[in-house]
Subunit: 170 residues, 6 copies
């Protein structure tokens, strides 16, 4: 079976990696859909779609034959979104999400929906990591897989985010 | 180094696989950008973006840690296209293409461009394969990697194409 | 004469029905333009364009030869919006609205603008009805025409809205 | 049951009216989806979406409580098109079409598909009518329902088409 | 009065300059709308919007206080196009065009339309100039104002066009 | 050299004019890119792209041979935005901006970035001027160049803004 995980992955962190491993173990194959793929250079979405493809693929390298990583742009039509995702991704047997909106729209589109376990959700959250980067707290490094840290450093991601945050404060 | 190969991959065939192997051998990593990712169900573009992601990943499974497969929608602005591709793909060091248009726009955008060898180009061409499918000539099966054949059969791809062709004739 | 009424109709309620009857009585024919037609599955816009078409047509069934119901997607360009509406709807002689923005843009586009009476506006408001649904208050049923209630129940509209609201709170 | 008829209706002619009556008789309710709703002022698509809404509603006035007329813009993504239509129209139980493309994409999207009878298809065709208008042949008037003739004359539709044709010849 | 001239200006040539001078002489002010502003790097539209802005402004430099040069992207909706142009350009009193389509849509949108004189139309045509460039015929230089020649040479415009043409032949 | 100034110019005020003069003096030529060109009739963006083209050109009339005024629509993709601007504007040698976001995205796109002096920034701000207009404070007239005042009065800009503000309060 092939499961779908949907996220913005800003950035791809250890919580994402854990859920992906769980899903691979349980379903065999996995589509990692990178949502809001065209959003970048904002405080909530600092990384480009391409940077996030690189993060996810590096982080999940040991499962690479069984993982499909697909950037998915927004279409701003929830009634159509599940079909938009399906059009760009390999066929999906089950959607893994705890988010009511995702469960609602994919459920109404006829998909089988299942919960995902949440690995220390308080700790592993994109917003926590981005706040650390803005505050210059290097502890964000512990929250992402090592190859993601490299991808972020290669583009001075923490510095970029700090400057984008400063832009908002101005 | 990371090279870019751009194509529509309708379908992904043995010629594509050969060029990908050449590129991996020469540059180490490869981005396979699936162009016109939102086009499907037409005689020239019968397969969806998701079906083509599946074809490419299956065909290149033995190199999966070094290959990035990225569906790229059209934007109908050639002056912007190289940057659109760059926004959705991991960073690219060299663009491999023999097509004058691609060489022109990526060259003007500052990319290094190189030729690709062409493996029996008369034989391995999307248009040849699609014509065979329309005519019911099963020889198309020899022109694609075995896992691509499976992907196509799973969606009755040859039948779909025949019906789409019939639609045009009507 | 043919009058235009513009709204999001989330959902179509008795206040809308009253204004429509007033307009039909006064002008003879009516275009009901369903705005933000592609928005759905959000707390402010829970119903799809198609569901709202069905609501409006059922609610106004007794005037169906004189009413044109047209879903109109947003274009996010107010300077162009009146012409966008005009392009998708039968010709309009007068625009009925109390909303300053609508009066301004249609006025600048050369349309005749008139006020609409407001039927118990405190009571009949989309936002009031949606809040009731979220809170599980069944009194919303009194605020919509009976056939609209059926349309909403057929898609478990109140449940959908509750789950969408919960999504925002998470 | 509610059936879907999809067409461009350039213009809405007696053949369309016959199929609509057949569908209403057989299924009870009908959605008339006006495709390419934003195309107008071209030789193949001379009339605006709004003009075509008016034609269809006038032509089908005697069934107005059972017919839903919905302009549907193109999205240029066949893999998504059936869902796009579904998002804007009341729920559909069966799709009536003889066109292989429509049958293929709605079939793959899970819809029940049925044939439509063709009423003197040689005679009642949009392209035949438009050619008559371009050539100044008044016989087009016999091919459309009388209220459609009025809608066309009100915008000097035949003259418009002649001038658009002349534009192409230049 | 302020007149509108609409063209693609691929490239801006002496015929365009003559009409502009005529219009300035007759109406006082002029809007030069550069159509299909986002098309570039095709045989019919080789130059970017920005390159064409530069051509037009250099060619009309002696009238620069009275000329407004505005790139206008396509919207592919003729019924809306005149309003789209109006939204992006200073207010227009008269539209100058001999093209039936432009006359039709701007006329229906309520604009005053006037003919333009044609200055040796056989000679001064974009398509003639582009064909010369493709064939390596340097006579194109005589057909454009000297500063336009400079703009074209600065981007190796003739070479670009030749390569784009070659792309089509492949 | 040719410098780029990017702004929304809602409206074009004396602060903008001062920076433009500084830039012309220092670099010789100037591109004034009018951002969010399709936004209008909102409290933050009351004026159309065309009205702002007219304001900027009138305000900078004495430098008209050296200034390029280009309306630039949003694309909502910061990773692509600098290239989008470049596609529509004459070639740019340096970007003048104090805004961290603009500096970040144009810097990452390879542009040279420089600071601009700020002329009494507390006083000359779009938001200050728009607030004055909403409050009926005629002092806004002192903050814009005289020809801009005329453009605004010609469309009753202050009245428009007041009515748009009232719309939000409703």
């Amino acid at each position: 079976m092939r499961a779908l995980l949907l996220g913005r992955y800003q950035p791809f962190h250890r919580g994402h990696a854990s859920v992906a491993e769980y899903a691979l173990d349980r379903y065999g194959e996995l589509v990692v859909a990178i949502g809001s793929a065209r959003q970048s250079y904002t405080p909530a979405n600092p990384f480009t779609g391409g940077e996030r493809v690189l993060m996810a693929q590096r982080a999940l390298a040991s499962f690479s034959t069984k993982v499909f990583i697909v950037p998915v742009p927004d279409i701003n039509r929830y009634g159509l979104y599940p079909h938009h995702v399906a059009d760009l991704c390999p066929p999906i047997d089950v959607v893994l999400s705890n988010k009511p909106l995702i469960r609602e729209i994919f459920g109404d589109a006829g998909y089988k929906i299942e919960d995902t376990p949440e690995y220390e959700r308080e700790r592993y959250q994109g917003t926590v990591i981005r706040t650390m980067m803005i505050q210059g707290d290097e502890a964000w490094r512990d929250l992402v897989p090592p190859p993601v840290e490299t991808v972020i450093d290669d583009v001075d991601g923490a510095g970029r985010l700090r400057r984008l945050h400063e832009n908002e404060q101005r």
